[in-house]
Each structure stands twice: as C-alpha cells, then as structure tokens.
C-alpha cells in the first residue's frame, strides 16, 4: 500500500512539473521520461557506493557514495541543463517543433543510457541505490547527541515516503504562490496569446526558457526519487514513452492549469492502473497474456476520447481572480 502511494506521489511530482510547463505556459513537452531518466541516472551514479562490477562487465561510472540530498540536487541540475539546451533552439519556434524535439530527446537519452556501457552500464542497470536511511540516522544522531537510529525496512519506506510528501507539498506551495504572482500571470498570458504578451513588453522567450528549465529540474528530481524508491536505475522498461503519456493523461484528466487537479489526476490514474493488476489473474488466457498491451492500447484510446469529448479534464482550469487593492 505504501508502495502504491509512494509511486503515485513521485508521478504526482512529475505531473506538477508538467503542469507548470503545459498547464500554465503551454509548452508542449512530451519528453518527460527523458528528463526523469537523466535525473535517475545522475542520482544513481553519484550516490551508489562503490562495488565490484559483475563478471564480464567493465563497471559503470560511479561509486561516489554521496549523500541523498546531493544526488537529488545534482539530478535537478543535470536535467535542468538538458532542458536548457533543448529549450534554446526550439522555444522560439511553434509548439510542434518543441514536441518533436522533446520526444526525440527522450528517445536519444534512453538509447544513450542503454548503450553507454562504461557510464550507465547499459542494459544491465545500476543496482544498489541507497535510500536516505544513513543520512537520516546521521541527522538523528547529531540532533540527539550520538544516539543510534536503527533503520529497518518499514522505517526506510516511511522515511522516503515522508520525503516524497514533503517535496509534493513544497512543489505545490511554490507553484501556487508563483502562478498567482505577476510572474505567473505572464506565463498564462504567453499561453493564451504570446504575441500579445510580447507586445506588452515581456521577453516571452526568457519566461518560456525559465519555465521549461524549472519543469525539467522537477522532473529530474522525480526521476531520482523513482530510482531511490526502487533502489535501481534502469531504462529497459521504465522512462519509456508510455510513461510520459501516462503523466500526460494524469494531467489532462486532472485538468491542466490546476495544481490540485494534477495531484488528483496522478493518484486517480495510478489507482486505476494499479487496480487493473488485481483482477488480471481472473481473466481468460488470451486477455491475460496480452494484458499489458491491451492496457497500453486503452491508454491510447483514452487519450483520443479525452481530446474529442473533454479536452479540459475533470476539474478543468482553476479560475484565478486577482484581488483588487
């Protein structure tokens, strides 16, 4: 159960990040998986302790054994840098160019990760990521003056879960505050009519780059948390395009331009996704064998139906009325 809420929470962080990019500013990023993968592998390389490589493998870059927080911050930095690099050529152009560039970036990132044997150990994944247990027990010891904190598996789950919740709340509060600020109003202006915003003297390109980099950084953090939660960084089955569009569905169902909706959408969609696993075993054989494919096809069908019948999502956009005086 805690596993469900932790993963849903991580996805909610990524959905919030997409919300500031797409929901508020209208930047069409369909490379979320790529940014998350970069975050995950950055954290994995920096925080994993040194270990002997498996037989016949050269071993990957890493073994730095740095603290959890350093890993998260570095993941944000690297994902943000990647976002900055892709934002420069594409954000001056129409939305479709950004879409093509980001989906390409995500795929190339994944291809590189799966191929760079000496850096990411390719398809063999980086295992043994630490949870923030040691860091927490260090802080505990420092606070209580030398007492030992024995972190078992339950407490370990709880610690990282609390960290996820704290990050969700943090991202939510910062976003709510910033999107109601003059800065946030410029973002909505860009989304509604970029020419008008530019005519009012706003450097829309700069705002768009800022938003894109901030969103990418949060996605990087989400990816790092994902890797820490499962104690493995792998790009064989995770961070694929399907994951990106799962996050898109979460945002669209929750209602883009609505932070509460983004979180609600993440928990709702992940809940449905998890529920389907429960009754899989009762299905006839044909359906059971092809279950994951049917589910992905259903994801596609839901996207199409949402676009035709309810593009604004369940909650729709939250109306924000500026207070006078």
């Amino acid at each position: 159960m805690i596993s469900f809420f932790a993963v849903a929470g991580i996805l909610a962080i990524a959905t919030l990040a997409l919300n500031i990019q797409w929901g508020y500013t209208g930047l069409f990023n369909i490379g979320i998986g790529g940014f998350m993968a970069v975050g995950a592998y950055t954290a994995a390389i920096l925080t994993t302790p040194l270990s002997d490589p498996p037989p016949f493998l050269p071993g990957h870059l890493g073994g730095f054994d740095l603290p959890f927080l350093v890993g998260i911050l570095a993941a944000m930095a690297v994902a943000g840098l990647l976002g900055f690099l892709i934002a420069l050529p594409t954000l001056r152009l129409r939305a479709d160019y950004l879409a093509i560039a980001t989906i390409g970036l995500a795929e190339i990132t994944r291809l590189y990760i799966l191929n760079a044997l000496t850096i990411t150990s390719g398809t063999f994944t980086i295992r043994g990521l630490p949870r923030p247990d040691q860091d927490v027990s260090d802080v505990f010891g420092w606070l209580t003056g030398g007492q030992e904190l024995d972190v078992g598996p339950v407490l370990s789950n709880l610690i990282i879960f609390v960290i996820i919740v704290v990050i969700i709340v943090l991202v939510y509060v910062v976003m709510e505050r910033s999107t109601r600020s003059p800065w946030g109003r410029v973002l909505k202006g860009i989304r509604e009519d970029e020419d008008a915003a530019a005519a009012l003297g706003k450097n829309t390109f700069r705002y768009k780059v800022q938003v894109f980099v901030i969103g990418s950084m949060i996605m990087g953090a989400a990816g790092a948390l994902f890797a820490h939660w499962f104690r493995v960084a792998e790009a064989n089955t995770s961070f694929v395009p399907a994951d990106t569009f799962l996050i898109w569905i979460m945002l669209i169902i929750g209602g883009s331009g609505n932070n509460k909706g983004a979180i609600l959408g993440a928990f709702l969609v992940w809940g449905l996704f998890a529920l389907t696993i429960l009754f899989t075993s009762q299905l006839p054989e044909f359906l059971r064998l092809n279950f994951s494919f049917i589910r992905l096809a259903a994801v596609g069908a839901i996207l199409i139906l949402l676009m035709i019948y309810r593009p604004q999502g369940i909650l729709g956009e939250e109306r924000v009325i500026s207070k006078m005086g």
């Binding site: 093509i100 989906i103 096809a297 199409i304 593009p311």
Partner: protein, 412 residues
Amino acid sequence: MVLQPLINGLIFGGILVLGAVGLTLVYGIRRFPNFAHGDMMALGAFFALSFTMSFLTVLAFPPELMWLALLLAMAVSMVLMAVLGFVLEWGIFRRLHGESLVRPLIASIGLAFIIQNVIRIVWGTSNQNYGFPSQIARSLPLGIRLTDNSLGILIAVVVLVLAIHLVLKYTTLGKSMRATADNWDLARVTGIDVQRVVYATWAIGSALAAAGGALLGLFAVIRPIMGFALLLPIFAAVILGGIGSPYGAMAGGLLIGIGQEVSLPFLFLLSDTSVAVFPFLVALVVIAGMAVILGLWLTDQNRPRQAKYAYASGGVMGALATVILVASAVGALNLYLPFPLFFAMGLQQPSAFKPAIAFMILVLVLLIVPGGLAGLADKPRFKEFMKSVSALPKRATAAGKSLIGRVTPRSK
C-alpha cells in the same frame, strides 16, 4: 568500400522518403504532426507480411515468383492503409480540426499507442521477415555490392516517387492539395472541396506509409516497435525538407538516410577511442555541408549550371575547412592538455545509436534554418552568405596569383 555506406544510405533514405512524403502532406494540409505515422508504416509492413504469406500458401505461388507475391501483397496493404487513413480522418481527426494543433497531436499519439499494441496482440512481439532465401550480393563497379532486394527497393521507391510527382504536378487533385496546403481558407473560397482533399491526402499519405513499411521489411527485419524507431528519422526528414513540402521531404529523407548510414563507421569509433566525439563532429559537418549544397541546388532553379557547381564546390570547401580546423584544434588540445578533452562514450551497440544522427541533424536544422530546405529559398541573407563562401576559393586563387606575381619577377 567507401561507396557502400552511401548506397545503403540511399536505400534506407528511399524508404524514409516514402514515410516522409506522406507525413509532410498530412502535416502541411492538416497542420499537425501525426505521431502515429511511424506506426502506420509498421502496420503496413505487417499487412504486407501476412498477405505475402497467404498468397504463397493459399494461392500456391511458386517460390520463384515470391517477389510477385510480395508486390501484390504490398499493393493490397497500400489499399487497406489508404482506407484506414480515410477512416481515421473521418472518425477522429475531422472532429479535432480547429485553432489548436495540440488536440489532434495528442490524439495521434493515442492512435500510435493503439496501433502499436494491436500489432503486438495480433502478430506477436517477435521480429519477423518475409522468409526470402538469403541472396548473394552482386558486385558492381567501384566496389559496390547490391542484393536483388535492395535493387527492388530502389526501383519501387523511384516508381512511387515519380507517381507522386505526377499526381501533384498534373492532376486537379494534386493542384488542390497544394492549394489547400498553402492556404486553407483561400482554397475553400476558390471552390475546392477542402474536406475531400483532406480525405485524399490521408489516403495517399497512408498508402505511401504502407509501401515504405513493406519495403523496410526487405531491408531489415519487421519489428512491432519499428514504428517508433522510424518516427525520429521521418520527422527529421520532414523538418529538414521544410514542413508541407513534398519535394523537400524527398531530399530530406535521402539526406537523413545517407547521413545515418555514412556516420555508422564513426559511431563504431565512438565506442572505444578517447577522442571519440571528434569523428562524430566530422560526420555532422559533412552532412550539414551536403544539406546546404542540396538545398541551394533545389531552391535556385533559375541559376545557370556553372553557378550551381560553384555553390556545390563552395559548400564542400567550407565543410572541409571546418573539419580541418576542428580536427587540428582538438588534436592540439589533446596533445597539450594533461587529460583527454573528450571521454569515450563507450557505446555498447553503436548501430542502435543511429537515430541520434537524425536527431542531431534535426536540432541543427531547427537552430540554423527552422523552415528547412524549402524555407531556404526565402532567405536572401543566407543566399548572400553562401555566395560569399563559394566565392572564397576564387578570391583566394586571385590573391595567391597576385602575391606570386609580386614576389617572382616576370620572365620575358
């Protein structure tokens, strides 16, 4: 040996051309990028596969006539996909026509998911092929080796591209397609049934996609996920050619295909040399040079032939000069720095990294000429720049001559 990657690139590029022309036609008229196009190519390939098999078994084609069975299957697959394209526009994309390109775009992604997973459910997840007996490549002059399959692909691509050219240039439908792509409202005002044109465009684009997918099955194996892998190169081709320009897409497809195959040896170098990024740069510069040359060649139709050759030599000179400059700079830095400037990228399987080339070209195009090759025609400043670059060798020789003339006394 040297020309072999070029030929392979030409074959793969020809297949990309078929995908890219269909994509760019729909993109130009419907004004949204169809992310399901790659998966439509995959579906076309699987249709062709199934029909080839059933023609061979049910209609008892003798094995010698296997290519005929494939040809028939390809035709059936094209017809089926044309109908599917019509149905998609009628059922989905007609309802999403409007100001925003995002709604049809997201719907096309959903469609890609559906097609990809239907393929996995119906045909399974393993790689398949037409089961042609393995062929001995025939040797041609200049060390080129070509199998019958590759030759067949080239012929099919040429025939289809010619057909598209004739349709676009000489039929009423083709003319109304170009008019609608140029200006939707104006086309409607002049009495063109725009919706009918859109249906026709979907049908033609999907049929071309089916042909491309079916031919790819001759060049490589047919994989259920090949649609997604194709997406990046065809989008790169469309953007390189300029969105909505079928002739640009043809040039773009060939360039991307050749670029990917030509840089493959460099990608292999990437896996273990310490100055690995350097050959990569070389490949990129050469490709960019080629693109510029071809772009000018295509867009300046009014220039005399000599001027075109001057441009071409200018482009090659520029690319070579850049390569030499970059090479010496990197070499010098690596000699004198205590650490290598570039890390080896350590690629496990370099050929799997090929789409990265297409992506690099795509980003370069977006940075330099977002309008693509077709957009170059509208850039007088760029043309002036290229003219001055191409005049450089002439000016250099002139300067050299005058210098030599000054130093050596004129003999009588």
